[in-house]
Each structure stands twice: as structure tokens, then as C-alpha cells.
Symmetry: C2
Subunit: 340 residues, 2 copies
């Protein structure tokens, strides 16, 4: 995992986590579909989906765990999850799938036919549909032991529960949500405004604003410990100067944020979360950060109440970063759940 | 007071509060000094300080209460405080003073000789010095019954306690702070980056980002109640379109934010808040919003611990807006304090 000092940057953690862990990542693989149909009616051409697998599929093909990726994340920086602490590759066949728009799977930054702004808007449901095709058409699986994801990965996990309810009976949504709260939409909308500013000027200032907004995802007391008041300006400037942004990457982030803002597992159910909850079969693990201001927990806690979910609240003053700050709490919740 | 629906905008409340209360504001007055010397060594030329008074000064000139203004606020929209609910003008001679840079007192937007970016940076200490001159040189007072202010007004109140410790023995700092926490600096720094974007383009987009950041000052659960997830984008656009911004006003906000970011009552005391606390004589009322993410309460709660302050925590899920959401709690704390 990345060094601890990055944690104060809240959801920027998601972008900067690098593969400095001991478990070496399995090789990057790709499945290619001629196109992926989108819920909007549009389609993504030359629909390449990246993934990595860890461990071995058992004989009756019943031990596969699917891990969708967080905003800006990719299968490489999720590889640390294929570990005894989280999803043991000795027991499970772990499939980490790159989300559309992450720069590895088909994305505004790498599509040759739908470049940057020409890349159509997509939904979390579309990302999940691409994963379903990978799992069923390419990997030949008709069931999954579990789906487990963090943040935007947790959103995809909950979408799986309503979109393909017969594929698995275990859903672990970590710091995810069935749909974004107003606060979260304000956050991602503002980030997208800043990304469009970057796209216009390709200059440093919007990166500073993005870095600043990243800090506002922290728990204030924790931020004070990590960055003294006299260091805030230089920390923002450092973060901005190290931010790997380009027009393509900015569009990747804009499109993934749009997917999150429109995410709603009750979309086709009259926007009624109680009905969506009734449709969820199988076991549900919901892990939240007590003071998460990136994916605020209210909607997912409401879903936990509507279902028979196991709700675990991490509270190490790291907000959205709690699964990293309280790695043992996260580890225990997930391994307990997967062993049931 | 402004309509309740504005409250979700967090500190934008400060900018948009309008004079729709019943108590009519006393007339705007001005004191003019040839210049105001700044702690930096620079000076503000033609240093006009606006103020309004309410009630009557008693014979022994012992009932004056000074009210400094919040960020972007002016004496007109603070007039509601001159009321039996807060500072009773039947008992007190209430002096509400426009802070330098608020567009009424000398400011980047109205200075004829130091226009916009030419207006020098100033500190909270400089604002307080201008008030001291108003009170002593113009109003002829050698003491104040109390100083009481909200938000940036609370910062000025605490600065009074170390800068002019002999003028009064009562300080009421409401949602203020002795110096900004790292989180707050990240917020105001980011706002200033957006204001500079506005200054460059004079366009709509930075106003949307400012409106969005305003929402991020709210308590998420409260924001969900006030603005549904489907209304967030339109609420941001509406707020942006109604935002009265101009180059002059943007510079006013930039300079006041810089004053807040450099605010530190222990500045001349080796940055040692314990020493600053020892210097505070008289009674101290500290009122905080439980989940305030605009002026985060940690530093002022620490100061309360270091002094013999009365600490009141408002907790109506409005964060920085708690003195408005919990008007009766704020009223009780302040009137009790002033009656002692």
C-alpha cells in the first residue's frame, strides 16, 4: 500500500495508491468485445475490459470472487486485496476487473474511435454489464462466490445485487452506496467543473483546486495531525504538481464521476429503495467509514436497515480512508463475511 | 433573516443573508482616517470604516458592545443581532463595525487609490486595530462592555482579547477561532483559487464551483433534507447565477480570506496558544457548531480548555449554520453571558 501520509488526501488516495505491496500483481489480461451496449442506447466500440486473476478456480467453479475497481483505480492497485488479509487466493479465484473509464479498460483516454469527449457517458450499470460478460462469456462462469468492492467498487457490488441477482449470494460493499447522497453529488459535480477547467487551460491552478477539494474529504482533526496549518499551501502545491493529469485522464475521471452521480440501484424500480432492497437476495456486508465525506454513508446505512445486512462501521478518523487506516477492522469484517 | 433554504449553502449564508428582519437597521455611518497602518508595514489609504449603532450609550459610557462582521458580511445584515434575543439595544449601545474588505469599509472593490489587487493584504489584527481607532478616537470610548462576533467576527473577537486586553472583560466568540485549522485553510485557499479563476475568466463556471464548495460545508444528512439528490445540479446552477460577483467583490473576498488564513492570536507569542490563553483576561464565551466544516471547532475548543471559558456546543445538524438553525440555543448562550 501507499505511504500513510497520502491518506489525508481523502479520495485522492484512490488515484495515488501504487503497487508497492509485497504480493506481486498477476499479469494484466484483456477481454475484447466488438462493442458494449449501454443502458442509454449508445455503445462503446472496441470494448476492451482489463482484468487480473489470482489463485485457482476450483473444479466446480464455485470459488470465484469478483472485485470491481474504485474511481480512478485499476486492477494493479487493487491487487493487494488478493491476500489472506482480505480475499485469500489460496481459497478463492480472485478476479479484479478494471472499470470502464479507468484508463486500462476502454476509456476516453485510450479509445481510438471514441476519444475523450466523444466517449459516451456510461452508468455504473454499464460497467457491471461489462463485468458480467467477462465472467460469463470469457471466463465461462455461471456463478460467483462473492462480489466485493470498495468505494465505486462498492457501488458496482450493490448494482450486481439488483442487476444479476442469480450470479452470487454474497455482496460486500465497502465504503460504497446504492446511490449517491446530495452531498456526494455536490462533491463530484464540483470536481467535474474543476476537471473541465483543467481541460480548458491545461494549467496548474485547477490541479490545486482539485488537491484542495481532496483535503476537504478528510476528517478535520486527522488532517491537522497529518498536515500542519503552516504546511497546507505547500502540501496542496506539491499534490498538484505530482498530479498526473492529461486531457485523456481528465475525461476518464469526468465520465467515471458521471457514472457515480447517476448511479441508483432503484433506477428501474421507481426510485424506490425499499423495493430495490426487497430484490436483494443473498448476504450483504456493508462497511462504512464513520465520518466519510466522499461517499457519505447515509444511503447505504438506510439500505442496511432495509435488508438483513451486516453493517460494520470503521471509525479511525479517516473517513473514506478508514478501510486503510483500520486495515484490521476491514480485514476482519471481510474475511468473516467470506467464510460464512 | 434570510429564508431557511439558504442554510444548506454553509458559509455562503454569510454572503447572502439579507436584511429582511423586522428591526430596521440604523443608518450607515462612516469614520474616515487618512490611512490605517497595517502590521505588515504597508498602509491602507483613505481608510473609511463603516458602522451602525443601536440603542443609547449610558452616562458612564459602560454599556457599549462591539460587533465585528463575518466574512463577506456587513453591518446591515448583522443588524438583527441588535435585538432582545441577542444584544438588547434597550440595555446596550450596540456598535456593529464593517470589517475592512467587506465592500462597505475600505475595500479592494471601493478604494480609489488601492483598487482590486493593488489593495494590500491585511490581517485580522489590522481589522481589529481599525475598530479600536473607531471606538476610541471617533466614539470616544475607553472601554467596551463586550465584544461579540460570529465566524470571522468571532476571530476578531478573540484577537481583541490579546490585542487590546484592557478595553473589555467579556468576549463572545461564536463559531470563531483563535487560528484556522488545516482543514479551514484548505477550504479558504481553494475558494481563493476559484475566485482567481473567476477574476481571469469573469465567467459562470467558477461560480458553480464556489457554489458547490459552499454545499460541501453542510452536514450531509441536513443537505439531503434541504436539497434532493435530483436537485443538486440545478441548485448549484441557481446559486451560481444569483451570485453577485465582480472583479472588485472577488478581490474583497480574496483579501478577507487571506486575513483569515493568516489569523493567529498567538502570532506574536511564538505561536504558543497556551501563552496566548494566559494573556486573556475577562470572561470568554465560546459557541461552536457540533459539525462545523467551515470554521472547524478544534482550535477554539482547545482554547476553551486552556482558559476558563464557557463552552456551548450547538448541534442542530447545521454545522457552521447552527447559530441560525438553533437560534434559541445561540440566543440563550449569548444573553446569559451578557447578563453576567
Amino acid at each position: 500500500m501507499t505511504s500513510h501520509c497520502k491518506l489525508y488526501l481523502g479520495f485522492f488516495l484512490m488515484l495515488t495508491l501504487t503497487a508497492s505491496f509485497l504480493v506481486s500483481a498477476q499479469e494484466q489480461r484483456f477481454a475484447t468485445f466488438e462493442f458494449c451496449s449501454l443502458a442509454s442506447g449508445e455503445r462503446v466500440e472496441n470494448c476492451v475490459i482489463g482484468y487480473r486473476t489470482f489463485g485457482t478456480l476450483n473444479k466446480d467453479k464455485s470459488n470465484a470472487v469478483l472485485v470491481p475497481t474504485w474511481y480512478g483505480g485499476n486492477s494493479e492497485n487493487h491487487a493487494y486485496l488478493a491476500d489472506t488479509r482480505f480475499i485469500d487466493p489460496e481459497k478463492f479465484f480472485v478476479i479484479i476487473v478494471d472499470a470502464i473509464g479507468n484508463g486500462v479498460s476502454v476509456s476516453p483516454s485510450n479509445s481510438k474511435v471514441q476519444t475523450e469527449e466523444k466517449f459516451p457517458r456510461f452508468q455504473i450499470a454499464d460497467i457491471v454489464a461489462s463485468q458480467h460478460r467477462l465472467v460469463t462469456e470469457v471466463l465461462g462462469l455461471s456463478e460467483l462466490y462473492a462480489v466485493a468492492g470498495l468505494s465505486m467498487g462498492g457501488m458496482q457490488t450493490l448494482q450486481w445485487a439488483v442487476q444479476y441477482p442469480n450470479m452470487t449470494s454474497r455482496y460486500a460493499a465497502i465504503i460504497g452506496t446504492p446511490r449517491l447522497a446530495s452531498f456526494d453529488i455536490a462533491l463530484w459535480s464540483t470536481r467535474n467543473t474543476l476537471l473541465r477547467w483543467y481541460l480548458e487551460c491545461q494549467c496548474e491552478e485547477p490541479k490545486k483546486a482539485l488537491a484542495g477539494i481532496g483535503m476537504l474529504g478528510s476528517v478535520p482533526e486527522k488532517l491537522s495531525q497529518d498536515v500542519s496549518r503552516l504546511e497546507v499551501h505547500s502540501a496542496i502545491e506539491k499534490e498538484a504538481s505530482e498530479m498526473q493529469l492529461s486531457a485523456g485522464k481528465a475525461w476518464d475521471q469526468v465520465r467515471q464521476a458521471q457514472a457515480m452521480m447517476t448511479h441508483n440501484i432503484a433506477r428501474n424500480l421507481n426510485d424506490d429503495m425499499a423495493v430495490a432492497a426487497q430484490q436483494i437476495r443473498g448476504k450483504l456486508l456493508i462497511v462504512v467509514g464513520a465520518d466519510d465525506r466522499v461517499v457519505t454513508p447515509e444511503p447505504v446505512i438506510a439500505l442496511a436497515t432495509l435488508t438483513d445486512a451486516t453493517l460494520v462501521t470503521l471509525d479511525k478518523d479517516c473517513g473514506h480512508g478508514d478501510p486503510w487506516c483500520d486495515e484490521s477492522g476491514f480485514s476482519k469484517a471481510l474475511t468473516d463475511f467470506l467464510s460464512k
